[in-house]
């Protein structure tokens, strides 16, 4: 039997303001923050006691004690405890991938409603037992006799009290994400000025969105924080130009301003079939119509670590029968200003599009005035898995405000992966 495919509606979202690492959420765990974001979503859409089809969420930095993180958060919430849930992890693609997984189940008619989410803390980081110590303890557990166990003690070293700290580092290259992006920026000739200009724009647009109350039905305050803590509007090229590079050596172009800071936060999105929304009188903001993931070989073929969205996009566009210019709004996740600019340059480049994407013509340029119009990750901060939900809810609201139109999302992720998706306004694509 071929299942029929239904339209998947975005009803809305809720997130907590994003905080800088070791800021106001220093003592909040992933489950605390995800619960806070979910509480606000339940409140906003009257989901108390509601049995939701399924909830999917995840965290990039996840503590081993958080087995079934999402399900535990559901059990502590006002949702019906019969709501199933599962955890997702795809680096910074986690949030959008969770949305896609839930959307696909709704499209296939397996569930009628679902919640997607993501959360990350870099403050309450999951330190693990030192790996050498862990091995000794496991060996001790396997050793039957006391003498054998005592012998194992001779392997103990003082340095083993140092825990294993999660590193923002690619296991196969030993380079951090920023260092990888600095290589990309240099290969694509992305200037410091272009990165700083994009950064200023991100902050100013997010500040404007707050000032006109646009964020009010997208978030609930948490632990005294009402706006994203990283937001610093009104900067200038001159001011940002004074910052020292943090990636790519002394000649590097990437700074603490044009790279996202380590952040803490959580987001959730409510998705449903049209019938489910109608039965509850919940207005539909937008529909999720397409999505795609891709991955690149950044290890042996030396593709840029964060270039995968450039590959995912044409595959998705071809399937949707659209061109890159057919969108009214573009949401390109600003992991680093340089990542956004490299991606745009790649789509414009005939050689890249021919040799890497196998296309006769480049995808072409976009009107950057339509990009990240309500601010991006550079301003809001980027709690890894929470970014996808922030972008989906914000884009759906923007498309709803416009009455019609189409938007596209592009998110890069660690390990050479990328996730893209298309949303259409509930009022139609055009």
């Amino acid at each position: 039997m071929t299942p029929s495919v239904r339209r998947v509606a975005v009803i809305g979202g809720n997130r907590i303001p994003f905080a800088r690492s070791n800021g106001p959420y220093a003592h909040a765990s992933n489950s605390d923050m995800l619960a806070a974001a979910l509480d606000g979503l339940i409140e906003r859409y009257n989901l108390q006691g509601e049995k939701i089809g399924e909830m999917a969420a995840g965290a990039v930095l996840k503590h081993p004690r958080d087995r079934d993180l999402t399900r535990e958060v559901v059990l502590g919430s006002k949702l019906a405890p019969e709501t199933p849930a599962f955890d997702v992890q795809q680096a910074c693609g986690t949030g959008l991938e969770a949305v896609i997984l839930i959307a696909n189940k709704i499209a296939l008619g397996q569930i009628d409603s679902g919640i997607a989410g993501g959360v990350d803390t870099t403050s309450d980081a999951p330190l693990a037992l030192n790996d050498d110590l862990r091995e000794i303890l496991l060996d001790a557990n396997r050793t039957p006799d006391t003498a054998g166990r005592l012998k194992l003690l001779t392997r103990l070293r003082p340095g083993m009290v140092v825990p294993a700290i999660p590193a923002n580092e690619e296991p196969r290259t030993g380079l951090s994400m920023g260092e990888h992006c600095a290589i990309m920026a240099s290969e694509w000739g992305i200037t410091r000025e272009a990165q700083d200009a994009l950064t200023i724009r991100s902050h100013d647009h997010l500040a404007a969105a707050y000032d006109r109350g646009w964020q009010d039905d997208l978030m609930t305050s948490y632990l005294g924080l009402e706006r994203d803590q990283n937001l610093r509007p009104g900067s200038t090229l001159e001011k940002l130009g004074k910052l020292k590079p943090v990636f790519g050596g002394p000649e590097g172009t990437m700074t603490a301003a044009n790279s996202t800071p380590l952040s803490d936060g959580a987001s959730t999105v409510l998705l449903a079939s049209e019938e489910w929304a109608k039965a509850r009188n919940l207005p539909i903001l937008a529909y999720i119509t397409e999505s795609q993931t891709a991955a690149v070989d950044f290890v042996h073929k030396r593709e840029g670590l964060l270039m995968a969205p450039a590959y995912a996009m044409p595959t998705m566009l071809d399937r949707a029968g659209l061109t890159l210019q057919d969108f009214d709004v573009y949401e390109i996740h600003e992991a680093f200003a340089a990542q956004v600019l490299c991606t745009l340059a790649a789509w414009e480049d005939p050689v890249f599009c021919k040799e890497r994407l196998g296309r006769d013509k480049p995808l072409g340029s976009i009107d950057t005035e339509k990009m990240n119009i309500n601010g991006g990750s550079l301003a809001a901060g980027h709690p890894f898995a929470a970014t996808g939900g922030r972008i989906v809810a914000g884009l759906a609201k923007e498309l709803s405000d416009r009455g019609s139109g189409r938007g596209v999302i592009s998110i890069c992720a660690a390990a050479g992966q990328g996730v893209v998706a298309i949303l259409e306004s509930a009022g139609g694509a055009k």
Partner: protein
């Protein structure tokens, strides 16, 4: 009634020291030592501006099992009011020392959820002494306001063991079956010290076996208010927005312990109980009933 406004929460440790002095025979005759009064003082203590420290709240939530939400657990406001309980009991004309009092009952009414960003004013008074079957009892009555709205009320009943009044024995109500067990909790030996650090209630009976012994306990016992908080944490997803939660503390829980938590949810409210996992010794009985919610 006299009202005394405090600038900040009084330090608990000196208060405990003062509260323990009446244990020394004759000390109550001294002017600064509690124990001289015939009844509890007619005094109201007020903390006019109480704010929440998210780090302290997070530590409290972790030890009690609460999720760190933007709304604070109703038992946490008791923690903020507790220094006032202690200060009142350390008054020179307080009829006896606080150390050695038994917390027998605690009722909290949450009229609406309180956000961590709110500023509250908290006042505490004491009710008159009244007879109890095993001594004398009185209530510490606390009230928290946000602006002019009463958002939270707490009543802690303390028993001073002594010459009782058998006629004060409560008539036995209808015996209800134990609520079915839904969870088993393992309480570690250091739990009293952890809760003491998170709540500020450093009564020596909760800290070490050695410090509990002189006060008549073979082992350190966990704070009754921890047990109450742990129960509310277990019920967090089913608590109404506004509710009254009433618990009776039965036999103290020695540490370490393994206890069971039982709950029964009906349309009238929630009944819950904590018992020793092996022997079934009753430790706590409680109920939650919904009350009309006030607007934020």
């Amino acid at each position: 009634m006299a009202t005394r406004e405090l600038q900040g929460p009084p330090g608990i440790i000196p208060l405990y020291a003062k509260a323990a002095l009446p244990m020394i025979p004759g000390a109550s005759a001294l002017p600064f030592v509690p124990g001289s009064g015939k009844d509890v003082p007619d005094l109201e203590l007020v903390l006019p501006e109480v704010t929440f420290d998210p780090a302290a709240l997070a530590a409290y939530n972790r030890v009690c099992g609460f999720t760190l939400r933007d709304d604070v657990p109703s038992t946490y406001i008791h923690v903020l009011a507790f220094p006032l309980h202690m200060a009142l009991m350390a008054e020179p004309n307080f009829p006896f020392g606080a150390v050695g009092l038994v917390h027998v009952n605690n009722t909290i009414t949450q009229h609406r959820p309180v956000s961590v960003s709110e500023t509250l004013s908290i006042k505490v008074t004491a009710s008159k002494l009244r007879p109890h079957a095993k001594g004398k009892q009185f209530d510490m009555v606390a009230q928290a306001k946000a602006g002019r709205t009463i958002v939270w009320e707490g009543v802690s009943t303390y028993l001073r063991l002594g010459k009782g009044d058998p006629s004060a024995k409560k008539p036995k109500g209808e015996e209800l079956a134990d609520p079915p067990v839904s969870a088993t909790w393992k309480l570690q030996g250091g739990l009293g010290r952890k809760y003491a650090a998170a709540s500020g209630d450093r009564n020596p009976i909760h800290l070490y076996d050695l410090t509990a012994k002189p006060l008549g306990f073979n082992k350190a016992i966990i704070h009754g208010m921890w047990t109450k908080a742990r129960c509310l944490a277990a019920l967090e997803s089913v608590l109404p927005e506004a509710y009254k939660v009433d618990v009776q503390f039965r036999k103290p829980i020695p540490l370490p312990s393994k206890v069971t938590f039982g709950e029964e949810i009906t349309k009238d409210g929630i009944r819950f109980a904590v018992k020793n996992a092996r022997k079934g010794t009753p430790h706590l009985d409680g109920t939650v009933v919904q009350v009309p919610a006030k607007k934020r």
